[in-house]
Symmetry: C2
Subunit: 391 residues, 2 copies
């Protein structure tokens, strides 16, 4: 699985459309998709750490055109992965942004070559704290170097080089994916023609850091955490579940939480340590589901990367004379990364004389809207990309 791929691999070859499904839900989709793994020699992190070798998981959909000018890089949020669209063999659930990536969708795979790159630091196939440290032959754990959004983007730049793409048509992503978009804009303005940061922020505020810190403290308070050295024993599942519960509350609007749960009350029952109210059960379910698919140390490292993110001031400077177009999308009920934060991104672009459009979508789903709003987001993205192509 994890081997180098040939640069010509994606040229004129449709990927992610191998199988046609009778299931109408799947018929609109790309069909079967597969995660690939790109391995490169070395990444020196901003913190001076040295990762070698580095594996980056990614998927691609659609066909790279002959002048390699139709490539779009998709970047995922905190707990996301490379599997953004289509279906993995034998799995019922499609990729996390299947509503927006596919034939005729916002990121139209009949027109564009769409790449979704995983981040380093995670636990979804790319090098992270649960990977084997070649120096010790054991998982990195806390020996993994502190990483930043900057480092994630630098690793992705290696992938884009490897794919032979000189200039991306667009980079796009929501939440932490939006931060990576902004970092791409700041670090490599000459490598991208346009950018779509969604539900993002120029810097993590103390409140956003505070919510992450609660999650970290919950993980580190779990005796199974053992200073990150738990890979040959039980995992800090209870702490990680609490961390996810906090996150989950911040991803939803008050209204969407209200709609998913009604607060049935039974004060006549004695105290039970288990979830009784519907909202408690909902959170408990979310927490426990997450524990099965995520590594606690990755939670620590990735959340730290987000907390250290701060492009205020830097974005405008980087964008001067870049001629880049930006579509900035925010959601009215997002209280974690509220519209005001997206307006700051627009201001930074405009201060650089750039071409930035701000769109606020009136969705009830809070921060999670970027994962759920197919119609309006799809429309905005489709029209924006068409304009970028014409220029």
């Amino acid at each position: 699985m994890r081997n180098r791929i040939d640069k010509s691999d994606h040229l004129h070859k449709r990927t992610g459309t191998g199988t046609q499904h009778a299931d109408p839900k799947k018929a609109e989709s790309l069909g079967i998709a597969e995660t690939r793994y790109f391995i490169f020699h070395e990444l020196v992190t901003l913190s001076g750490g040295n990762l070698s070798p580095v594996t980056l998981a990614y998927e691609t959909y659609g066909i790279l055109n002959s002048d390699r000018s139709n490539a779009i890089l998709i970047l995922h949020a905190f707990s996301g992965d490379a599997h953004a669209a289509g279906f993995h063999e034998g799995v019922e659930k499609p990729g996390w942004w299947d509503i927006l990536i596919g034939p005729g969708k916002g990121f139209d795979t009949d027109k564009y070559f769409v790449i979704c790159s995983n981040v380093i630091g995670g636990c979804k196939g790319s090098t992270g704290p649960s990977s084997i440290n070649p120096e010790t032959g054991k998982p990195y754990g806390l020996k993994f170097p502190m990483i930043t959004i900057d480092d994630m983007v630098n690793a992705q730049r290696h992938l884009i080089d490897h794919l032979g793409i000189d200039k991306l048509l667009a980079v796009a992503g929501g939440s932490m994916g939006g931060m990576q978009v902004l970092q791409w804009m700041a670090s490599y303005p000459e490598r991208i023609r346009s950018a779509i940061p969604i539900a993002a922020t120029v810097r993590h505020t103390p409140q956003q850091i505070a919510f992450n810190e609660v999650g970290r403290q919950a993980i580190m308070a779990d005796p199974n955490w053992k200073s990150g050295d738990y890979y040959d024993g039980p995992t800090p599942a209870a702490g990680l579940a609490v961390a996810r519960m906090v996150g989950h509350i911040t991803y939803m609007s008050e209204r969407s939480l209200e709609e998913k749960t009604t607060a049935r009350r039974d004060p006549a029952s004695p105290f039970k340590p288990t979830a009784v109210l519907e909202v408690e059960q909902y959170l408990s379910y979310q927490g426990n589901k997450f524990v099965e698919r995520f590594d606690a140390n990755s939670y620590l490292f990735i959340s730290k990367a987000m907390d250290h993110f701060d492009l205020s001031g830097k974005l405008t400077n980087a964008l001067r004379r870049s001629g880049m177009k930006a579509l900035v999308i925010a959601f009215k009920t997002d209280w974690l990364y509220p519209p005001e934060h997206s307006k700051e991104i627009v201001r930074a672009c405009k201060m650089a004389g750039g071409n930035a459009t701000y769109c606020e979508i009136d969705s009830p789903h809070g921060h999670d809207s970027f994962l759920l709003e197919s119609e309006q987001q799809g429309h905005l993205i489709r029209h924006f990309l068409e304009k970028v192509v014409k220029e």
Copy 2:
């Protein structure tokens, strides 16, 4: 300390003003205050539990007049106690609402007899899960009955009976104190002339419940919790600290968190499990400070009481023909119990044909504003009480 007091104890006797201080900060205050303990025979909780005997901690300030018509009952928030104003002997910090209770202040102790009652379920001198269960001779722990805001208020009603007060001039409190005010309005409308619910809500919403549930899960995930049976060993301090950190974020506005902490970033350092950023240190300090003064089981029981609180529909019915006046105060930056929730209280009063005034204070301090805003709150309360007295 814990003995019955005589009913005439508070008549024509100034309490809480025993000592005059040279310190100008203390000169404006009541002087030395002392917590008293009222013990009554039995309380049957809404859940069918039986507490016997029941101790209620309380303090009083000012003088009860001869017709016992100037008594105001103050009710505290989640982690508060009976010590609302003045100073305890040898302690530098005054009571939690000293900014509003004292000579010439909002609750003017030159005019009114102010009582602050602790809640049952807590750990501040009143019967709670850390109290000795007479049946076993050991702390109640999880054998403590599930309690509600209703039960808290019923216990307080015993205290008010004991003090010989037929009709309170006012009941007032913020946050969970505001919920107790609403419960007094619903349960005993004939016993109060006016009510001042501040930063409160008619019912706990799924989002509010969700934040509490995260705190409970953090406590119960701590191996020292031992199903609540930890009183002869180490306490679940790590879990309780995480619970407090979540709470603390919700009590502050984004701006006030920003002002208390700047997010200094040092991504060049390796991962440290300890707090590095200023906001992390601030939260860690708040969490650890709390652990010294609060019992984890009390956190579970009191937060459950709040989550079960739901007076929607009931308040209006209770208030019909009561002739009660209400002053409802909310804070613009309070996102935990936002102004909209206070407007619901006003609507419920008006639907009952009642006299309710709504005041929204433009304070930057979030939910915590009720503990910090002395001037505007003091003004509103003073004028409101003067009107109630004149009627």
